[in-house]
Subunit: 360 residues, 2 copies
């Protein structure tokens, strides 16, 4: 099958969903370079009379205003990680391959097509296509909108179309990163007994981390799996010197029922004899599956939700008081891999489920 | 007390030993910049009719040729580590302070004065003043002489005037450096159970190193203290990734009765399940205190020898079949410190002991 890059980035969002996904992949949009894709998406949305469109940076927000009792937000990021010899898109074995196909232009295609074709949804809908999700948090388009125009993100439920294998993944876990500094005393290795080897002392820190293992926590019926890992170890002065410090960087993934304060206390309690410097801590998001909007989606899908273990932008909605879940096409474990793809069947399934829910 | 830097580097080696030490300190000679000091030393030695002098790079060798039954080698390096705001020399409380005072211009002063004043020693003597001991091994002047003119280093005993607190330190320990690589399997920390944390596995490596502790080994009546230490630990991919490797760099100090091959086998046997990459292994030097020349020196001194725990250039002599020991003024633990000094009393004591031994 032949396929050429579009001469101009003009999308046909009401047309074939696979072609739309491929067109979105073929407009390169690494973080910081989303202008062309944002232009194309904005251009398509402005052609729809049932939508009110706003542009904020290289993010685009489109809304219906039908006066429905509920409002839901469908959101997806426009950017990708850097290319890895995986452009242009390819269609092989009913899978769309190419940079961002899985994370998350497949989801963007579904949301864009839904925006264009579901002209009279039974719930008002806010569509958010945003920039810089794969870059540092300060540039995240969703964060920028939340700060500048929080009313645009308001709703009874937010659905992030990040890849979730076509299943509903509720909430997300929080994470904490901290440096645990083990102290010793320097000495020449020829007279090591005059010092205290900090790297040797770190053995006990690593042992406790290993002992932590996986802890299952159930929230709203979903099973989260907390983990605590050393993600870096740094020690060393010179090859003939007993090192006087060893820094173990630890990463805790904690269930959304645990607050950042509790997470920090847990890590500190594990290493009472060492310095613990928390460098980053981010709350998770409660699944909120009991909310009416979420319950109706789950009922419509007829599948069991599962817990989201990684951190996603659903936490940004949760922090704003909007329950949020992940529901999108593509296997999340393929994200950021050179061979990422999205199955055509999942594109159609998610598209159909959302249309069904928004029109039923 | 006032003291000025010499206008030209002219030494008065037969004069006051403290002034000679200070003059040697005041001719800066960081590794690679020994030319001026080597010129001064060579000039002084060439003025002595009882000595045959040769210059090799910035090293100087001077020999008596009296047809004695024994030949001993007195050796010292001319270079220092980089200056640390510790020039010019100062004489305070009967200590000579300044860059290299302890390591080892005090020893060089003793050897140089002995060379000039002991004109008819009872043993033939080879004096070696050499460059680049504090730099990388390939530039070491003693190594260069050993390769180019090995006959110049021949003798029944070599005495290295490295600081040893005025005591005889026999032999030296060998050392081995190796990287122990612990393997795991990468995974996202949100799904850590899909991976194997290499840093966690390294806890057991560090525990075994700590368990090794200090092991005493007696050779020729001297007590060596072997030690095995982690000197560096490196692990880490990203703050959300379970690391798949953790490299622990270990340093073994081993008694001179242990061969490099045995040392390597010991480290490998300790970590049979991990990759062990030996990056450097250097043999120690047996004390050889039973040799007649060494025995007579010890008898003359009337002090007990002790084991040399660090590695020194005595090992270069040992490798050439010449028993060697360390005997020089200054506290070895002050070497390379900004406040290094050599006690005047030790300068005189070592000088007197050597003169006594070479003339008695």
């Amino acid at each position: 099958m032949t396929h050429t890059l579009p001469e101009a980035a003009v999308l046909r969002p009401a047309g074939d969903l696979v072609e739309l996904t491929r067109a979105l992949v073929d407009v390169a949009s690494e973080s910081g370079s989303e202008a062309a894709l944002a232009d194309a998406v904005e251009g398509a949305l402005r052609a729809a009379p049932h939508l009110t469109v706003e542009r904020i940076g290289h993010s685009v927000v489109a809304r219906t205003s039908l006066g429905r009792a509920e409002r839901v937000v469908l959101a997806g990021h426009l950017d990708t990680v850097p290319a890895c010899d995986n452009l242009p898109s390819r269609l092989v074995d009913d899978r769309v391959y190419g940079l961002g196909a899985c994370d998350m232009k497949g989801g963007v295609a579904v949301a864009l097509q839904t925006a264009m074709t579901v002209t009279a949804p039974t719930r008002d809908v806010t569509y958010v296509f945003y920039e810089c999700e794969e870059a540092d948090a300060a540039r995240n388009g969703l964060g920028i909108i939340a700060a500048a125009r929080p009313e645009l993100l308001a709703g009874d439920l937010a659905i992030l179309l990040e890849p979730s294998g076509g299943l509903v993944e509720g909430g997300c876990q929080g994470f904490l990163t901290a440096d645990v500094t083990v102290r010793g005393r320097r000495a020449h290795t020829a007279r090591a007994w005059q010092g205290v080897n900090a790297a040797h002392r770190a053995a006990e820190v690593l042992r406790r981390l290993d002992e932590h293992g996986v802890r299952e926590v159930v929230v709203d019926g979903l099973v989260y799996r907390e983990g605590l890992n050393a993600v870096a170890v740094r020690s060393g002065v010179a090859s003939n010197v007993v090192p006087d410090t060893c820094v173990v960087t630890v990463n805790l993934r904690f269930a959304p029922s645990c607050s950042p304060q509790e997470a920090e206390a847990r890590v500190r309690a594990l290493f009472p004899e060492h310095e613990v410097d928390v460098t980053e801590v981010v709350a998770g998001a409660l699944p909120g599956l009991g909310r009416p909007a979420a319950a109706s989606l789950l009922a419509r899908l007829g599948t069991e939700p599962r817990a989201k273990l990684g951190w996603t932008d659903v936490a940004r909605f949760a922090a704003a008081g909007v329950p949020a879940l992940n529901f999108g096409p593509g296997d999340p474990s393929l994200a950021h891999t050179p061979d990422e793809y999205v199955p055509v069947a999942e594109l159609h399934a998610v598209r159909a489920a959302l249309t069904d829910w928004l029109t039923g």
